[in-house]
Amino acid sequence: MLGNYYTFSELLLWIPLLTGIIAFFIKNNKTVKIFALFSSLLTLAVSIISLFYSDVAHHPEYLNDTNVSYVWMPYIGSSFSVGLDGMGFILTFLTAFTYPLIFSSTRYREYSNANVYYGLLLLTQAGLMGVFVAMDALVFYFFWELALIPMYFLCSRWGGEFRIRVTFKFFVYTFVSSLLMLIGIIYVYLHTPAVTTFSDHSFYLKSFYNASLTASEQNGLFWLFFLAFAVKMPIFPFHSWQPDLYEQSPNSSVMVLSGLMVKMGIFGMIRWLLPIFPDGVVKYQSFAMILCIIGIIYASCIAYVQSDLKRIVAWSSIAHIGLMGAAIFAANNTSLQGVMLELLNHGINIIALWIVVDIIENKTGIRKISELGGLAIKSPALAIFFLIIVLANIALPLTNGFVSEFLMFTGLFEYNKWMAAFACLSVILSAVYMLNMMQKVFFGATNSITEKATAISTAQKFILSIIVLAIFFLGIYPQPVLHLSQDTVTMILQKLK
């Protein structure tokens, strides 16, 4: 059954959903942790097997966009269609790959009502998977909002001191923007051709690509969609929910938030914005890119002056996302391929950063970089792992960050030299704040707090080695990923022509 391509997208969706619901009823804290880890490993296994069937050349019979389609609401032309294309494979794999890492690296943390905590995390995974496999606009919107609800409860129940206010801000930002996108979806829907005889229009992805929209309609709709994705990513003027939320959230939720949930926005831009509104994109792409580039420089500067570890990582994430946004709107083959690769790389790198931050916080109990120091003496292994992760974030050659950022910069350069020049500042600035953080946390003399820190355990070493291996593998041989995403990119560029 697993060999049948048609069920992969469904399996990826139902496994976390069902296990998430079951997890609510497991009362024992230890059992629920093992159960959640097991569930995420199962999803990972399905995802890895699905990759063997991702090559269209060898499996031409699977080249079918309506992979799974159930009649859902026939009279308004919506069906429950899910399927995977190149980008879908990358993102579902990222989701499946990082969840076991998140579960195992935060395993030692004790949460009150652990069953609810892990159940909600698994439901979030189901929501994310749903967004990535949806082939129907209404299904996409369903999961887009559904991923938000468990995350809302996770962050407001187990977060820091100001969690309620901060999480609610996040909720309102995304809720308003998604509702505006809903209007956009309805508007596009009313201009789509019919697919079945039951209804005049259709919510199906391909119908959306064939919607007949005038240039002026596209200009308005562009913003309705752009806003929803820009808030989620977040792009510069819509980012204010993000650093506060990252600081206040529990560590494993923040890994999901920054590593995976942010990808929903980028995914949305590529799948639901670029191909549907080509005229709108051409008209506003420079403006959107300028916003992104302002975001890069602004966020990098702020990251440098932050003193809290979590806030540094949060701002650095905004800078990286800004670069990806700019590369999306450059909209050429090189830049989009770079984004595809960076989707995977950024997910891995940022989760790796959070894992290290979590370890440091757990060992010392503080996150202020001015109060830390000398951890390299206490835990040399952690320092080495962290250095590699930091270098990957700065995009040094040989690490995964280099390949994708190089592609993105090349793509930006093809679009506009000046924009590329300003965007390149991100590399320099990220080196500044990342190395500054590295230096203050790990080097220098130990003080009364870091004195008591111990070396990391074998399990932690194991988790970090997996990440470091992934970093090097993708840095040296990124071809499989680029090969996977080429079809998606080509298709999008055809729509834009």
Binding site: L146, V176, L182
Partner: protein, 462 residues
């Protein structure tokens, strides 16, 4: 026809039953039995079995839309009786009269959903309103209840007067001199002044009945003053019945000149949405907050009137169901609370997890989160409005208001889960296991409708 006659008869039975029922718990069971009979009879009429053959001279017209609406009303009333039966007994001594009045309201609802002349419209609305005035004042020794009842009665009488005036003007203004709504031929030209005046008066009177702004001032005080169980009924069944009358009248009589009055409705919708949502944000009492939220939802239901296409009809059916079920559920939880302020909900998740979880789903449904009926309903309304194509600003305003509504609904969720109760005392009293199971059933209904809204809509084309 089944529904009108059986509900009237059952109302009388309940009223006289008060003399014979020995135990105080008896009327409840009779009422549940009555509503089940009513529901069955209405569904039978759907498939063409009518018990009563009465020549109404075409003054009543039973179509799928009206019958489906009746089904929803009776179904919600059934849920309401099951959830609140015990609480109704606590309001006062005349328990069986309360049930009788509710059955009379249902009779009015059935007329309002099937009228074909302006006279029947008037009768339906009045049969609905007068028992509501009495129910508001049911808590006789409570001054707030008395005040609310009097206020409701005076304002209601005023709006009734306006409505009659409007009907008279329309009767005199149309060339055929007819009360039949399908005969009022207005043509596509500019409407005469007399008709226009009549139409505006009807809009005002019906807006009053559905508590649309700027005719909403009675709503908050009345809903706040009335005994909570009856607020639940009036804010749902009576309100959605007002909408069915509204849309029936305007679809049949004035649909042809929609563009001439659409702007008026758009303005009423916008004001209702803004006033309802913005005021609800500042409420400290959950009961009052729900009263304003019901005004806000009236704004969303006005979209059906604004768009007036087939999708709008489907949307109204769905919205009526989604809104009523969620609101009845939320009020059922609220009635059990010891403290009606938002602080009263603090830490409910710890003391009553089932109540907290079900209340969360009700609130999420009212907010309009996917997977709940509330989302499907809002989606259909937005679809209808965008399909209409005019006044896209109104749609954008509506979604912004929907987001504002999240502020006050989520305040309760935050209180239930993330805040500690200030004292050890129980938040809620008298919560039986049966009540909890019922709440879970209501939640299941909300989620099923949220996933498959066609279950409720397809009956329209049966």
């Amino acid at each position: 026809m089944n529904a009108i006659i059986i509900s009237a008869i059952w109302g009388v039975i309940m009223m006289f039953g008060g003399v014979f029922f020995r135990k105080i718990s008896m009327p409840k069971y009779w009422a549940v039995a009555g509503i089940i009979i009513l529901l069955t009879a209405n569904i039978l009429e759907f498939v063409g079995i009518s018990f009563f053959k009465i020549d109404t001279k075409g003054m009543l017209h039973f179509d799928n839309f009206g019958l489906q609406f009746n089904t929803i009303t009776f179904f919600c009333t059934l849920l309401y009786f099951l959830l609140n039966g015990k609480e109704i007994e606590k309001v006062g001594e005349n328990v069986s009269e309360y049930f009788a009045l509710i059955f009379f309201i249902l009779c009015g609802v059935s007329i309002a959903s099937s009228f074909n002349t302006l006279l029947m419209l008037f009768l339906g609305i009045e049969i609905m309103s007068i028992p509501s005035y009495i129910l508001t004042g049911a808590d006789k020794r409570n001054l707030k209840s008395n005040e609310a009842s009097l206020k409701y009665f005076l304002m209601g009488a005023f709006s009734t007067g306006l409505m009659l005036m409007g009907i008279a003007l329309i009767y005199g203004g149309n060339s055929l001199g007819s009360f039949y709504i399908n005969i009022i031929e207005l043509g596509t030209g500019q409407m005469p002044v007399m008709i226009a005046a009549g139409l505006v008066l009807l809009v005002v009177a019906l807006s009053f009945k559905v508590s649309a702004a700027p005719f909403h001032f009675w709503a908050a005080d009345v809903y706040d003053g009335a005994p909570t169980v009856f607020t639940s009924f009036m804010a749902t069944i009576v309100k959605i019945a007002g909408f069915i009358a509204f849309i029936r009248l305007f679809k049949v009589s004035f649909g042809i000149i929609q563009h001439q009055w659409q702007m008026l409705i758009a303005l009423i919708t916008a004001t209702t949405l803004l006033i309802g949502n913005l005021t609800a944000v500042f409420q400290q009492s959950v009961k009052r907050m729900l009263a304003y939220s019901s005004i806000a939802h009236a704004g969303f239901m006005m979209f059906a009137l604004f768009a007036l296409n087939d999708t709008a009809k489907e949307g109204l059916i769905l919205y009526a169901l989604a809104y009523s079920v969620a609101t009845i559920g939320m009020f059922a939880v609220l009635v059990k609370m010891n403290d009606y302020t938002i602080e009263g909900f603090n830490g409910l998740y710890k003391s009553q997890p089932v109540l907290a979880c079900t209340a969360t789903i009700f609130l999420l449904s009212l907010t309009g989160i996917p997977l709940t009926a509330g989302f499907a309903a809002k989606f259909y309304m937005l679809l209808a409005a965008v399909k209409d194509g005019h006044q896209i600003w109104l749609v954008i305003l509506a979604v912004i208001c929907a987001a504002i509504s999240a502020i006050y609904y989520f305040r309760i969720i935050q209180a239930m889960y993330f805040k500690e109760a200030s004292h050890d005392a129980n938040n809620a009293t008298d919560v039986t296991d049966g009540f909890k199971y019922l709440l879970i059933i209501v939640v299941v209904i909300i989620i099923i409708i949220g996933i498959l809204p066609s279950l409720a809509i397809d009956w329209l084309y049966y």
